[in-house]
């Protein structure tokens, strides 16, 4: 792994498993009376959010604070800041303050990549979601949730998701979650199927390491996990589908459809859910739905990523050491 985390596609299988294993240990901190580690004491992390996302920001903030980093929140939402220069100028301002890492959420695909590779700053860059490109920590927390549920909390240590059949349903075209998940799940050995109306599948998807289907009912019985992607109502106005009703009828997950899934299969959602659109309340509130777990797991995953990128003298997932010095 490089100094930065920009795309799930940058992670090797071993990198990803190490992050998941580390997150498993981080998760235990949440069970302690003092939910804090001194690991990033004296390091400064900026949460640079050009796009509203309270949940992602809070998740990163909790992770940073549990590792004792100094946290600066910088919300520079959309139109008030003039485009272009603002990213560079803001970045350089932060750099001048001696920031060690920038967690960035940006509406423009590639903005974190630019930030990491343009020479504007030296800090490590962690992508917290860019446009319709990538959201690697989301994919990691999803994989973490799947591994816990499908392989086991302890049995999963050191394991990937080989042979697990994962189905992603919904607006793939506009989804950074889908892109990150396809990349990471493939790296971890899972078999991924995308299900969506053809209008919401990108041209060029044929090169992705996954299958594409337009028929949800056919795929459900062969799924170990079904991840429902959020569908924004405004897509309807752009003629991606005729009506909300027709969308939910063809691609929404209700109790009846959930019954077609294997007994052990789980239902996932990156949130926020649009109940009644892609998922019914019955499914969202069922035992099989991992939405709340995913949120908790998000903190552990982000702690793991922060530790592995910032915890040492050099960010190094690929060569983390296991031997003690004596």
């Amino acid at each position: 792994m490089q100094r930065h985390l920009i795309s799930a596609a940058d992670l090797t299988r071993d990198d990803a498993v190490l992050i998941l294993d580390t997150a498993e240990e981080m998760a235990r901190v949440a069970d302690r009376p003092i939910k804090k580690l001194p690991t990033l004491r004296g390091r400064t992390v900026v949460n640079l959010f050009f796009e509203d996302s309270t949940r992602t920001r809070i998740s990163f903030e909790a992770a940073e604070k549990r590792l004792s980093a100094d946290v600066i929140n910088f919300t520079a939402k959309g139109s008030s800041v003039s485009k272009g220069e603002s990213l560079k100028d803001t970045a350089q301002t932060l750099e001048a303050m001696g920031v060690d890492a920038v967690v960035i959420r940006h509406g423009a695909s590639g903005a974190p990549y630019r930030l990491a590779n343009s020479g504007w700053i030296d800090a490590a860059v962690i992508n917290a979601g860019d446009g319709t490109h990538q959201h690697p920590t989301q994919a990691l927390l999803d994989a973490f949730t799947m591994r816990r549920r499908l392989v086991g909390r302890d049995a999963g240590i050191g394991q990937d998701l080989a042979g697990k059949r994962i189905t992603l349903v919904g607006d793939v075209l506009h989804s950074r979650v889908a892109r990150s998940n396809v990349d990471l799940l493939h790296t971890l050995g899972a078999e991924v199927t995308l299900v969506a109306p053809p209008t919401l599948v990108p041209v060029g998807v044929e090169r992705w390491p996954c299958e594409v289907s337009y028929d949800l009912d056919a795929v459900l019985p062969k799924s170990d996990a079904v991840m429902m992607l959020r569908v924004q109502r405004e897509r309807m106005n752009a003629a991606f589908f005729p009506t909300e009703r027709e969308y939910s009828r063809r691609y929404g997950l209700d109790g009846e459809r959930m019954a077609k899934m294997p007994e052990h299969a789980i239902v996932m959602h990156p949130g926020p859910m649009v109940r009644g659109m892609e998922i019914t309340a019955e499914v969202a509130d069922s035992e099989r739905c991992t939405v709340v777990e995913q949120v908790a797991n998000g903190v552990s995953i982000r702690m793991a990523v922060l530790y592995l990128l910032l915890g040492g003298n050099e960010p190094a997932v690929s060569h983390a050491r296991t031997t003690e010095e004596k």
């Binding site: 560079k88 423009a108 695909s109 630019r114 343009s118 892109r179 990108p202 041209v203 090169r207």
Partner: protein, 428 residues
Amino acid sequence: MSKILIRGAKVLGGEPQDVLIDGETISQVGAGLPAEGAEVVEAAGKVLLPGLVDLHTHLREPGREDSETVLTGTRAAATGGYTAVFAMANTFPVADTAGVVEQVYRLGREHGYCDVQPIGAVTVGLEGRKLAELGAMHESAAGVTVFSDDGKCVDDAVIMRRALEYVKAFGGVVAQHAQEPRLTEGAQMNEGIVSAELGLGGWPAVAEESIIARDVLLAEHVGSRVHICHLSTAGSVEIVRWAKSRGIDVTAEVTPHHLLLTDELVRSYNPVYKVNPPLRTERDVLALREALADGTIDIVATDHAPHPHEDKDCEWAAAAMGMVGLETALSVVQETMVDTGLLTWAGVADRMSVKPARIGQATGHGRPVSAGEPANLTLVDTEYRGLVDPAGFASRSRNTPYEGRELPGRVTHTWLRGKATLVDGKLT
């Protein structure tokens, strides 16, 4: 004016000859011409071409003098071997009146580095709704014959039809920027495998092809001629080929960058590769080269589009579209067309001087290198290879996609009506 003897140049890439310039014209072409009374330019091994003509240049003046002016743009043109450039109309104010086109025309004449022929807007303010005063621009001192809303597509079929019909009265031509606007809302790059991965809004080939198909049919219907700007897809090539085979009066241009670069470069998210139309795929690049070689595509035009540094030093979505091209065009054409065996130097002269001059009716340009013709000439060291260094550009802007890339060929001399504008690679 004095005499200049260009000695031993390979005229259009042929056998070495001497070319004698007397005043504004070529007085003699032949072997062993006497040097007496003439300044001698040793040109052994170099290729002599008619001065290049660019049918598609953005000089930015008036309005965006921070990125280019007529002066800096024409200096860049002379450096690249050009003796005439057609200045696009998307300035501020838009070149949609006789007043603006005359201003640009006059500035070019005053600076004297390169003839500047303004292109007039097709519609008022490039808004696509109301025809600009095409006749007035034609009758002005600038004598506009080429009209284009470049940067925007004349997407309304009725307006396009009227424009094609109207310019017939004075032999004008409409140059179309083919981009169906609805299909390219939010578009950031070529739609395909790379855009799917990068999550950048896709710019489908069909958005270009559908407009070209419509416009060649319109041109046929009203019996006018149409010119297609910066054609970029294999499908567009097929449509133009079909139109020509039907006898439709259509001409087409390709930019140097579409002959060399592909959308794979966008993986860097470096906005220096952001351009309109977008970089396409390898398959498109090969089809464009073949079409330029077989004459389906008539000319190379640079679409020289200067932008200030800050408009490119940002995230992809916020960046301006366009690349500078005047100073690297001939090198890219040598790399992609000559060194690959697709085109001879005579072919290059045809595609980069003769044909663009003919389409744009630039009198005195694109003429044969022979006695009695205006001395608009370009001398090229085709053996040269070097790295592109934007710091040395004459253009005010540096947004080249070729920084640090090795390219062949270098223009050493340019003469505009017998006056040297570039000597040994240096502007006069």
